[in-house]
Amino acid sequence: MERLTKLSFVPALVLVALSGDALASPNTASANHCRPVTSGTYSYGTVGIANLGTSNMTVACPIPMDATALGSTVSFRMRVTDNSTVGGFSCTPYVFTQDGTQLAAGAAKTTTGPQTGGVTFSSWTVSVPGNVNTNMYSIRCSIPGNFSVINTARAE
């Protein structure tokens, strides 16, 4: 009985032990935040950016974040639609300081050339020792043409 009483306060302690940013935000950003890094023909949708050209173009998709400092392992996720039978996506996640200095880069995730359809890039982590809430998160992608789309980007 006494043990059960003590155990009942584990939920309360768990809440206390969790830091504020565990309760606050990871963030999923619309790919409308993406910006063209190389020239190309593109358009924005309600959610997303599409490459209207015939060949790949490069965009940078920042993920706005609030005052939360993410942990020393940051997970990224991105949802894309590959409409090209010629080229494929190549995307790399990044962490930058507020002065634009690169802190970390993840592995590149790619899609095949011939296949078309939706893809979720996940299981995508980057180590950031000493992460602070002024760091910035972004995924840079080479988007294939033929109306291939980046829908969303997420960091947590």
Partner: protein
């Protein structure tokens, strides 16, 4: 006989419900207009008292946490990659600088502490590269191609001063005296090309302007994903 059994159910439920209600109330309070200075001041004082209690409890909790769970990210990252590639969030990887301690500090103090954490982390990582047993085969197929790719993509203003691959990390020191940091466009091109090598993520030690030390973690590059038509 029945009463103790009821208590053993209701006490835990009550604790959780109380905490959840307090949380919901706290969140709703923060969205209201706090224009009333007197109310705001009273609330601030109350919050300060409660914050001190929370800090004391967090400090006690940290002391109770076994040292292994506060290990550097290099250990937790290896654990994550080796055994659980799907793990994200990184709450248990959080070092003392991350999380609430950073949020409660002045931004400048938080940045200073983070800087210290990073220097310590990279000093230990560098020592690891110098002391761990070398995987000769991996070194042979990684070190020279890495140097070549970096030189090809980063251009003549960035020089590879040193490249050493051990068995879990490669360390590459780049000298770029004409600019404080590496060019991001060219780094992206390098990042795409390094998929041919057995390295995954890259960490940047940027403590000194004009010099960047990269730590490239050994691992298989992710397989190409096959897109699938959606129904």
């Amino acid at each position: 006989m029945t009463q103790p059994r009821l208590s053993s159910v209701f006490i835990p439920l009550g604790a959780v419900a109380l905490a959840a209600a307090a949380y919901a109330w706290g969140r709703s309070v923060s969205t209201e207009n706090q224009g009333d200075a007197a109310v705001a001041a009273e609330q601030a004082e109350r919050v300060a008292v409660l914050e001190r209690a929370v800090k004391r409890l967090r400090a006690a909790n940290r002391k109770a946490t076994p040292p292994s769970s506060q290990a550097l990210a290099v250990h937790s990252t290896n654990r994550a990659t080796a055994s659980d590639p799907t793990r994200g969030g990184g709450e248990e990887d959080r070092d003392p600088v991350d999380g609430a301690d950073v949020q409660e500090l002045h931004p400048d103090e938080a940045a200073r502490l983070a800087h210290q954490t990073r220097i310590k982390y990279f000093d230990e990582l560098s020592q690891r590269v110098d002391t761990e047993l070398v995987d000769g085969a991996w070194r042979h197929r990684t070190e020279a191609p890495l140097e070549r790719l970096l030189s090809e993509h980063l251009g003549p203003n960035v020089k590879v001063s040193e490249a050493t691959c051990a068995s879990t990390f490669c360390r590459v020191t780049l000298s770029h005296p004409e600019s404080p940091r590496l060019p991001s466009n060219e780094m992206f091109e390098f990042d795409l090309s390094r998929a041919t090598l057995e390295v995954t993520e890259v960490l940047f030690d940027v403590r000194a302007e004009g010099t960047t030390t990269l730590y490239l973690k050994r691992g298989q590059a992710p397989a190409t994903v096959q897109a699938a038509a959606e129904e």
